[in-house]
């Protein structure tokens, strides 16, 4: 059985910071097609502030997620502050008393994040938003675990679900947020929140997998 040691919070979230900072301009460009064009700027700002605030500290996964959540909610505002803030707060709360996560409890952590977002937003799958990435990713992951797949295979399911969900936003008509006012004309473009969510989930899967391999070695 594979376990993720939850003491590697700073490492794993460091990877999430990297993927956002590396894609700052790309995210703004995606957002610029149908939104304000500020998604990359705001995300990068929030993740950078988190990174600076924990410089040199070795945090547990729960502590790192909670700190990231509070930084995003307290510093970036917009829609993404509360949405990502509640996602990571939910994940932090779900992992706080656990020294290790197995495939199932890692899935519980993802589900808790999803539930936390749904408590502050009425957004749904099909609205052309980050939930279009998050929901299928979490569902695919859980199905893989229910089918007794390995932790590694479940992480692959998470990546596949995220990428498929993100890609699905291209043909959707936006129902919420600023792009909603575009109606039909929002079709043909990816949703920036769905893209950032996909980048984050894929990198979370990569980083987790690397720690599983290292623990096995």
């Amino acid at each position: 059985m594979q376990f993720l040691d939850t003491s590697h919070g700073s490492d794993i979230l460091g990877d999430l910071v990297d993927v956002i900072l590396d894609n700052r301009d790309y995210l703004s460009e995606v957002d610029g097609s149908i939104g304000d064009g500020d998604h990359g700027i705001n995300m990068a700002k929030g993740f950078r502030l988190y990174s600076e605030s924990i410089q040199g500290q070795s945090l547990s996964l729960a502590k790192a997620f909670t700190t990231l959540a509070n930084t995003l909610m307290g510093s970036i505002g917009g829609s993404m502050g509360p949405l990502y803030g509640s996602l990571f707060l939910g994940m932090g709360n779900a992992s706080k008393d656990l020294d290790t996560l197995d495939a199932r409890t890692f899935g519980d952590m993802l589900s808790a994040g999803l539930e936390s977002i749904q408590s502050i937003s009425d957004a749904n799958v099909g609205d052309k938003c980050l939930l279009d990435t998050l929901v299928p990713a979490v569902m695919d992951y859980r199905h893989a675990v229910d089918d007794d797949d390995s932790f590694t295979s479940a992480l692959q399911a998470l990546r596949n679900g995220a990428e498929r969900g993100c890609e699905s936003t291209r043909e959707l008509e936006a129902k919420i947020g600023r792009a909603a006012r575009l109606g039909e004309r929002s079709k043909g473009h990816l949703d920036a929140g769905a893209v950032s969510c996909c980048l984050l989930l894929v990198r979370l899967a990569d980083s987790t997998e690397r720690h599983l391999e290292r623990a096995a070695a």
């Binding site: 610029g32 304000d36 064009g37 909610m73 917009g78 949405l83 919420i176 006012r181 575009l182």
Partner: protein, 329 residues
């Protein structure tokens, strides 16, 4: 980018510093760098709070003052303030009689205000909200709940602020602010795009010689892109959907035309002359008109038109004394 800035990521903080230095008679700093409060709030009244993204100056902070708002939460450019900022604004505005939070219908503002209200509840601060939905171009009249808030917000702050200044209670301030913004129908036209400094390139494009009817305050695309008409035809194109939105005939109205940032004020008055002609021709009496840069979108060219239906209850509140950076009566 021909802009007066330092680090593009710090534009808002740098600007807030300027407002504080320039206008100490209006602004006092708070414990939160993105919250300003009125420097001379009268005691014992309902607190009035607003907030929103930056880039719309003089909105939102220009409406902090006498007979208007008591505190403002300030977001990044075109991005909602944080829940923390709204909460601090509630705290500094509350004098034990509750807080009216008057803001516009945008997804981020809705979530952050919702979270801030939950936090305020834990501190026993009574917060009620009015959400402006006056932009007729953003959704049809039967889907008003989807409409975004634009310059009608100014009338909401004016009326809500005046009600609070005469010591109405929280429920009454909320009722009147809601009534004020429901009486407003607005529409914008965009003639050119705008650039968020940290982005460094225009947010969208409007081809030279064209105008986008119904454009939003952040460049949200409007109803249609048409060849740029002359001012008279532009006034008609704006008046048509506004006057069709509610029945203004036979009554008094307040009219507000705001520039979007880069249109000369002279042209706003030129536009107004045609709007006034049209209203007169339709048997609508203009009680008062405010023409200027009241609610902008960085350096966009264009304007918004707001027409507000007045009755004997709203009129004295629209006319009541007020003193702030953006409006004085």
């Amino acid at each position: 980018m021909q802009r007066i800035i330092n680090d593009p990521d710090n534009v808002v903080d740098d600007a807030v510093r300027g407002y504080l230095r320039a206008s100490p008679e209006f602004y006092a700093a708070t414990d939160h760098p993105r919250v300003l409060k009125y420097a001379a709030t009268t005691s014992g009244k309902v607190g009035v709070v607003t907030g929103g993204g930056s880039g719309h100056e003089p909105a939102f902070l220009g409406y902090v003052g006498d007979g208007l708002c008591d505190a403002v939460a300030i977001g990044e450019i075109f991005s909602s303030p944080t829940a923390d900022a709204f909460l601090e604004a509630f705290r500094v505005a509350d004098q034990g009689r509750g807080v009216a939070c008057l803001y516009g219908n945008y997804a981020g503002d809705n979530m952050n205000v919702k979270m801030a209200r939950q936090m305020a509840e834990m501190e026993s601060i009574d917060v009620k909200t009015v959400i402006a939905r006056d932009d007729v171009a953003s959704a049809p009249a039967d889907q008003r709940e989807k409409r975004r808030g634009v310059a009608g917000e100014i009338m909401m702050w004016k009326v809500g602020g005046a009600a609070a200044a005469r010591h109405d209670d929280l429920d009454e301030v909320i009722r009147l602010a809601q009534k004020a913004v429901d009486a407003c129908s607005s529409i914008g036209v965009g003639l050119s795009s705008c650039t968020i400094p940290a982005n460094g390139k225009p947010n969208f494009t409007i081809a030279p010689g064209h105008m986008e009817l119904g454009i939003g305050h952040h460049g949200e695309p409007g109803i249609e892109v048409v060849p740029l008409p002359d001012a008279k035809a532009m006034a008609d194109a704006m008046c048509d959907p506004v006057l069709a939105d509610q029945d203004f005939t036979g009554g008094d109205v307040a009219v507000l035309i705001s520039g979007l940032g880069a249109t000369p004020v002279m042209e706003l008055n030129l536009l107004y002359a045609h709007v006034a002609d049209r209203l007169e021709a339709e048997g609508i009496t203009v009680h008062r008109a405010d023409i200027g840069n009241y609610f902008t979108s960085l350096e966009m060219m264009g304007a918004t038109l707001t027409v507000m239906k007045l009755d004997e209850e709203l009129k004295p509140l629209v006319d009541a004394p007020a003193r702030s950076l953006a409006i004085t009566r």
